[in-house]
Every structure is written in structure tokens, then in C-alpha cells.
Symmetry: C2
Subunit: 207 residues, 2 copies
């Protein structure tokens, strides 16, 4: 693949368009204008057209986009054509909560294939009562199953050490719920979701 | 309050500094340089100094910041001095998972005081087996307890309608987990956390 990568924020917006298209498809809508799709995603139509230009030619002037074709192209570009295996590391309160939501991730194309924890033989967690393996087995599992994606929900104090282990074994992308900034090599991408920080941020705006 | 509000992104960074300071305090560190605090938050020192200028005068040239004083000032500015009441609306899989993490929110200053769902008398959920009330009682509860902050974890199809109800009753800030863009009046702030979209975004970068 020699094409330049799509910028990070544009990829987020492609996901938003993807969602909008899925809803239109569920409602049996066949075509959509750039103005309508932009509104559904909360962006300006010029932004949408610029973002979709990363996908090559799409849409017919005056007729809009084919919902089916654009959705299929986005699925392909976003890499969610096949079920993507993911491991979860850290099966404390938040990790258990996330495992409880495994069905929601699966609907979007991500399958949590194993869970690991720092405390060996912690317990079974989540609705599916998924077994939790000791972290010592994570490297081997990652290599054996070519896992590229990990959800990290360990305490902040352990997050960097666990990250080093995951990256060393081949993980290339981490969805990080630990409230800290992770240091990773350039080929690794980290998205951090800090739920308490989101609430704190909102808290500032309600006085 | 006549001071202009701090920009949205700066408020996020203040939360990052707040975290860093809490860790330093736990390690009994009394003062910190702007360079060290900036590194812990993953920002440039010039950015940190600019952000902290929103708080007024802080730090002594050559000595750095007092960890205790700066942390206290940030707690005050971020409005997390007292326990902030929050309601959760939508007690399906994700909502139940979030209620299971209620202890984590409480540690950060947010208390989930009630849970509501579209299906009346749904069930009790979470570790604390919190009762889930029918949504019809939400407006009265919000008014009676002057609730300003809500966590929204209903399906996308119901999210806008529920948002209108919450805002009508006095909610000013929403942490939205529904995968959609909510329309709200200017005095209401929405932060959206879309877990599947975060994974989809990472997925793009691992090919």
C-alpha cells in the first residue's frame, strides 16, 4: 500500500459517515445528498466532500451518493470487513464492565478473543463468563494469533509496563482506558478514553 | 462569573495536569517543574504554561509549581470539589457495564444517584444492584435533585428524544455513549464517547 494514510481526524469522521449510512440502509434509503449525510454526522458539507475524496470518486452531481456503494467502500477502507480479533488486558472493575459489553463490540466487527490480568487466575468475568488468563501468557497468545489490537484497562501505575509487553509481542494499536499518557514507538497507535476525565470536562461547563 | 470560559480543549488538558499532580502528591513530591508536568501530560511546556495562565499566577521562576496548591486550584476550577450527582439513562448492556464501574466514577468525584430506562421496571443492575426506574420519572427526579449532568447510554434511535427530555428538565451536560450526533441548545454541552468508533479508528491504522 503506497497511498498516503488518511489523517487521524478524517478517519474518525469516516466512521461517523459509516454510521449514518448504516442507519439509512436500515431505513431502506438508496441515495443520500452530501448535505444530508453531513448533517447526520454533524459536519459541514465541504468537510464531508473533502473526507470522501480520500476514497476516490464517489457520488453523481445532482444525484448524491449511493448508500450501498459508499457504505461498502467505507467498510473496506476502515478495515472492518472481517471480524477483527482483540484482546483485553486488565479485568478489574472497568475491564469486567467492558467484557460485559463484548456483544456491543462484536456487532461493530470486533471480537474479544481473550482476557488477561495481572493477578493470575483472577476469575471469570462478563456476561459470557470469559476466563481471565494470567498476563504471563499474553505474549505467546498475541504471537500465536497475530493479535494487532488490544484494549487496556489496567491501573495507571501498571499501564506503561503492560504496554511495553504488548507492543513487544506485536500489538500495533491500543484502546487505552488507563488514565495516563502511554509512550509507544511510532508504528503503534494509541486512542485513550478516560471516562472520568470526560465527566470532569463536562463538570467545568455546568456552573 | 464574568471571566471568559476556558476553551474546551484547554479544560481537557487541565484534567491531564490534575491527574499528574495527584500522582505526584501520592508519591509525596512537593514541587514540580513545568517541563516535568508537561511531559507527564504529553504536551509541550509552552502549552502547559499557557493553559495554567487561565488559573492566574502560579509557580515561582526557577522553583516550579507547588503540587499541593496547583492541585487544589485545579480541583476548584474543574468543579470537582464536591461530589457531583449524575444520573444514568439507558440500562441495557453498556449502561449496566457503566453502572458496574460506578465505584470508578465515585473515586473521581461523580456519584451516580439514579438510573433510568425506557423499559419500565427493567431490573436491578451493576455491582451495587442499583434499581432502574422507568424513564417517565426522570424529569421529576432531575428537577427535585437539581441534576445537571447525565450519562446517556440508550440506543441511537432513542437518543435524541431522551436528550430533549433531559434538557427540558434542566440537564446541562451529557456524556453520550449513543453512536449519534445529538442536537442540543447552546447552553448544553455534550461529550460523545463511541467505543466502537475508537476501535474502528484503530483498526484503520493496523494494516
Amino acid at each position: 500500500m503506497s497511498k498516503p494514510p488518511i489523517p487521524r481526524k478524517a478517519v474518525y469522521r469516516l466512521s461517523l459517515y459509516h454510521r449514518g449510512l448504516q442507519r439509512l440502509r436500515a431505513n431502506r434509503v438508496a441515495t443520500v445528498s452530501s448535505a444530508a449525510l453531513a448533517k447526520a454526522a454533524g459536519v459541514k458539507p465541504t468537510q464531508l466532500r473533502k473526507d470522501l475524496s480520500f476514497l476516490g470518486q464517489f457520488g453523481t452531481r445532482g444525484l448524491g451518493y449511493s448508500v450501498e456503494a459508499l457504505a461498502a467502500r467505507l467498510t473496506e477502507v476502515l478495515g472492518t470487513t472481517r471480524l477483527q480479533p482483540v484482546i483485553l488486558v486488565g479485568a478489574g472493575n472497568l475491564g469486567a464492565a467492558l467484557l460485559g459489553y463484548a456483544g456491543g463490540f462484536a456487532r461493530e466487527g470486533f471480537e474479544i478473543t481473550a482476557a488477561f490480568d495481572l493477578e493470575a487466575g483472577r476469575r471469570r468475568v462478563g456476561d459470557a463468563k470469559m476466563p481471565v488468563h494470567p498476563i504471563s501468557g499474553a505474549s505467546e497468545f498475541i504471537r500465536a494469533h497475530a493479535i494487532k489490537l488490544a484494549i487496556l484497562s489496567v491501573p495507571a501505575a501498571a499501564a506503561q509496563e503492560v504496554t511495553n509487553l504488548l507492543v513487544g509481542a506485536g500489538v500495533q494499536a491500543i484502546l487505552n482506558f488507563a488514565p495516563c499518557v502511554l509512550q509507544v514507538p511510532p508504528h503503534v497507535v494509541v486512542n485513550t478514553v478516560d471516562l472520568a476525565m470526560e465527566l470532569e470536562n463536562l463538570s467545568y461547563f455546568i456552573r
